[in-house]
């Protein structure tokens, strides 16, 4: 056997220029304590109210997307952990169960080979996977992440997954039993807005909405179409609404706000759409712009991400102000100037609510939601391409 003792010695002995141990050790008679290994951090069973999740679409490797768990109150260590969100994934939080869910797509050879679509169930304290439900047919809809491609219904016991092949359908999954219940064809309609006790609404290509109720087997029990709820050519609604209880507040490309009551079996458009308002300085005009352009706070106020460069085609370019709107009074109550071109906004449920703004640069900025005052920036420390913020 060759002697390898010198090898070990070099690893253990101090290297190169070392300060004299004798002198400094006088001040610190005891060395630093040995540290316990292995050690893996755990998150609190109930996440603090300053925590949000931020979806990193990860353009440089879309197949390796992830969701960051972020403490917006901690500028020193804002990133609390990452949850895998592979290949145009969707992500859901079930706070009451302490579970997180992802819908993802995998290939046996990373980019090629056998395809598997699956829901993974993650423990929200350990961020470890605790179960999987394989989705059949290789039909899961892959899009830049929209929240309403994966939603809960039936009191959170079931999940609804959007499919697109390009034939459109919705898969109904029993999360507790970890099995697929049913698939509902949905030609010409997109997105899933949970409706009533067990059902959902989608928006359709002709401007109508379509509401479906589900029976105990996850099959469609009834359905109803409501025509002309939006004018897609001239006043299209962004697909992601702000939820206030069971009311979904949508905003249009031009800044018109339209509510839908989703409490019953059929979605009901609320009478009286209204404008988020206008302002000087538009070039040519102020319009909503970004990826997640409208959100709500716990008190029911709406926050709309606005760009002064609004015209046809600018609706995803991001915004530089947030306009706060009271949907009951149908009036704007505040304008908040942002630090940079922002793609997504959300408001925490803290006792002092904070507006969380994700810039295109990756920087996450925090503002006082009531006053609009800038509080802190977390820098670009949690995600490469933050495009969605969820408040648990």
């Amino acid at each position: 056997m060759r002697s390898i003792a010198p090898v070990l010695a070099s690893a253990l002995y101090a290297f190169a220029a070392m300060t004299s141990p004798a002198i400094a050790a006088d001040k610190f008679p005891q060395p630093l304590a040995e540290e316990s290994l292995p050690s893996v951090a755990k998150l609190p069973a109930t996440w603090p109210q300053s925590w949000v999740t931020i979806h990193d679409f990860h353009f440089g490797a879309i197949l390796d997307g992830r969701v960051a768990v972020v403490d917006t109150a901690d500028p020193v260590q804002p990133l609390k952990g990452l949850v895998r969100a592979a290949q145009f994934a969707n992500f859901l939080i079930a706070k009451d169960r302490g579970e997180l869910y992802t819908t993802e797509t995998f290939y046996s050879r990373l980019t090629r080979g056998e395809r598997t679509d699956a829901i993974t169930i993650w423990d929200s304290a350990t961020l470890q996977p605790k179960g999987e439900i394989v989705l059949p047919g290789g039909k899961r809809q892959q899009s830049v992440t929209y929240p309403h491609l994966f939603q809960l219904t039936n009191g959170g016991k079931w999940a609804l997954v959007a499919n697109f092949t390009p034939a459109q359908s919705v898969t109904v999954v029993d999360l507790a039993a970890r099995k697929v219940l049913n698939e509902i064809d949905l030609p010409g309609c997109a997105q899933i807005y949970p409706t009533g006790t067990s059902g959902f609404t989608s928006l359709c290509a002709d401007g109508s909405l379509f509401s479906v109720t589900l029976d105990a087997n996850g099959a469609a029990a009834s359905s109803k179409s409501v025509p002309k709820v939006q004018d897609i050519d001239n006043q299209p609604l962004f697909s992601t609404p702000a939820m206030v209880g069971t009311t979904a507040w949508f905003v249009s490309f031009h800044g018109m706000v339209q509510g839908f009551d989703l409490s019953g079996p059929v979605a009901k458009p609320l009478p009286g759409s209204f404008s988020v308002g206008t302002a000087d300085g538009g070039s040519p005009e102020w319009r909503p712009g970004g990826w997640q352009v409208i959100n709500s706070d716990a008190a029911g106020k709406l926050y709309v991400l606005m760009s002064p460069y609004g015209k046809e085609g600018t609706h995803k370019d991001g915004g530089t102000e947030v306009w706060v709107v009271d949907p009951i009074k149908k009036a704007r109550t505040l304008r908040i100037a942002l630090k940079g071109q922002t793609l997504a906004i959300a408001v925490t449920k803290e006792s002092t609510p904070h507006l969380v703004a994700a810039q295109a640069s990756g920087a996450i900025d925090i503002y006082d939601a009531a006053t609009g005052a800038f509080v802190r920036s977390l820098g670009a420390t949690v995600a490469a391409n933050p495009i969605l913020i969820q408040v648990p």
């Binding site: 490797a61 980019t111 395809r115 929209y146 064809d185 997109a190 290509a205 609604l237």
Partner: protein, 192 residues
């Protein structure tokens, strides 16, 4: 229930299976005559609209690089720039920067058989062209020349007008590499 409209769906599936450039144009023509065709030809994924100071202006980011030009006076502009006229509604990495060209996928990829159709105006001849934004699939994110333009883009309820879908759909793998922007015809005159 659960069968809202099988006719429409089957038609869409037939399109997905059988579309070639020729049949696509035939189908587009047919579409004008009635409601029998549901144009389920959307395109793919949105890019982060990058910061305004990015080299390529408000619609894209990336390294500064020399222009890729056609050499044709009738097809002006830089095919490595998000501002090139054909990219009026593109969303993703430009294949021109990834080993392909404005209408060719890079080696190692597969071109998506069905696509989203946009309409862009050529500044040289003033014509509005129908542009097919095909995705190239089976290789991971190219990472070069990320662009996102949305002229005419509409929400996902209207798939053929929405560029947020991953259109690596009819291909063997749904992994997205880059997008091309091919001229497949002249648009009909704008309805007044």
């Amino acid at each position: 229930m659960a069968r809202f409209d099988k006719i429409t769906e089957n038609l869409a599936r037939g399109i997905a299976r059988g579309t070639s450039r020729r049949s696509l144009l035939a189908w587009l023509g047919a579409g004008m005559t009635g409601a029998a065709s549901i144009p389920l030809l959307p395109v793919a994924r949105a890019a982060t609209p990058p910061a305004p100071e990015a080299p390529h202006g408000p619609h894209g980011a990336g390294a500064a690089r020399p222009a890729i030009i056609s050499g044709l006076e009738q097809d002006p502009g830089d095919r490595a720039s998000c501002d090139y006229w054909r990219y009026c509604a593109i969303d993703g990495f430009l294949c021109s920067c990834c080993g392909g060209s404005v209408n060719t996928c890079p080696p190692g990829t597969e071109m998506s058989p069905i696509t989203w159709i946009g309409t862009c105006t050529n500044p040289a001849d003033g014509r509005a062209y129908v542009i097919s934004y095909n995705d190239c699939c089976g290789v991971s994110s190219c990472g070069q020349c990320l662009c996102n333009r949305n002229e005419g883009d509409r929400p996902q309820v209207r798939p053929q007008s929405n560029n947020d879908y991953n259109w690596c759909l009819g291909s063997e793998s749904s992994v997205y590499n880059c997008s091309v922007a091919a001229v497949i015809g002249v648009a009909l005159p704008a309805a007044k």
